[in-house]
Subunit: 252 residues, 2 copies
Amino acid sequence: MVRPAPRLFTKAPLGSGSFGLSAEQARYLGTVLRLPLGSEVRLFNGKDGEWIYHLQALERRGGVAVPAEQRRLQLEHQGSPVLLFAPLKRGPTEFIIQKATELGVAALQPVLTDRTNRENLRMDRLETIAIEAAEQCERLSVPVIKAPLALDLALDQQDRFIFCDEAGSQLDQPWGGDEGRSAPAGEQFATAAKVPDAILIGPEGGFTSDERDRLRADERALAVSLGPRILRAETAAIVALTLWQLRFGDLD
Amino acid sequence: MVRPAPRLFTKAPLGSGSFGLSAEQARYLGTVLRLPLGSEVRLFNGKDGEWIYHLQALERRGGVAVPAEQRRLQLEHQGSPVLLFAPLKRGPTEFIIQKATELGVAALQPVLTDRTNRENLRMDRLETIAIEAAEQCERLSVPVIKAPLALDLALDQQDRFIFCDEAGSQLDQPWGGDEGRSAPAGEQFATAAKVPDAILIGPEGGFTSDERDRLRADERALAVSLGPRILRAETAAIVALTLWQLRFGDLD
């Protein structure tokens, strides 16, 4: 397999005129990858598909690339889900951004729940992680990372959402009851009449019972259990996205 | 929901005689959780189900707990898969151990491939991660972490394995051809006649084309593509395990 040309995200329009590389991009292409002038670079911006550019100049402070041809059209699966997640500690939060990008989310919406860790989110850092993941995984877009919202406000923007109910898996444990158990994820996804436009993952420690009651009573919610083991929040996010892509998206 | 009693893994038999807590376990229960004497602790050892013990003594250097009752029988889904993975850098390797444990693997088998990072694996550290993940996710067993083996030798221990073929997803890219594309994972899992007993994930950078040719010609291999995006090795491991549990295991 021929090694594909490096791939960079930009917010600039593509296909007309030369492209100015940032100092960081120039350093990556020149110093890390040691690309000679004339080399191919692939650019995408979420709108114009993927373009081949040729490196025309490369210095320490920047560089120039010129368009050669469009290689891919902006055709991506439509209707990818939004992931609503309660921010976790820094490592797991960054992990969710990276993995959800690889798994094709349209957007990431941090939500504030009763048990949410309210540390400040470094939005610029999270955006960088999403861009790097998108560059690496061959996506043609970078998911939007939205400003944090209170849970209720975030849900008001969704028509129908998957609610990953970790407490729903636990109810065969001695400290739970039989009521309020959620249906297994596979079954719920398989029988869903409409495509849910969002997936909601709770904070470390789960939703409070008050939140859980409201979520389970919410007509827009499809409550699912992710099996007999209790998954960490970031694991639940990947598992739910995998099931979504399998049933409604492009995994199959 | 009542907070469940803390849960500890041990290699000792359960149910008969008192249990001696290690210094670390005593510190966790006494200093971190501040449990009073008489509190419930849950113990599991992979053989005797889950037992409730009561704390009888707790000091800095250790403690004693005595058996009260068996709370769960050793009933777990049989036939969980082995995950064969090429060791990655430390962070992603530890991540695979933790997440695969949460997703119910029976065992983890590091395999050496042409592009495997041959850093020494700290087997004791990996075992600790598996134990902590098992304690947290309510499993009744801890997956075995096997000593690294050459790929061919590791495959010789499997009857039938899923081969996650990341190159198989890329073949609609301009640098690939149409031959040798693997079938989508969902379809392959849905039509598999026998339960595969292992899942094979490649190294960062993928299998070499020589390895890939051998794998695709292997009668025991079910080659699957994990969708149009190129997943990192550790992401592919979780996605494949999720699909396995959905189709053959206990996710549904």
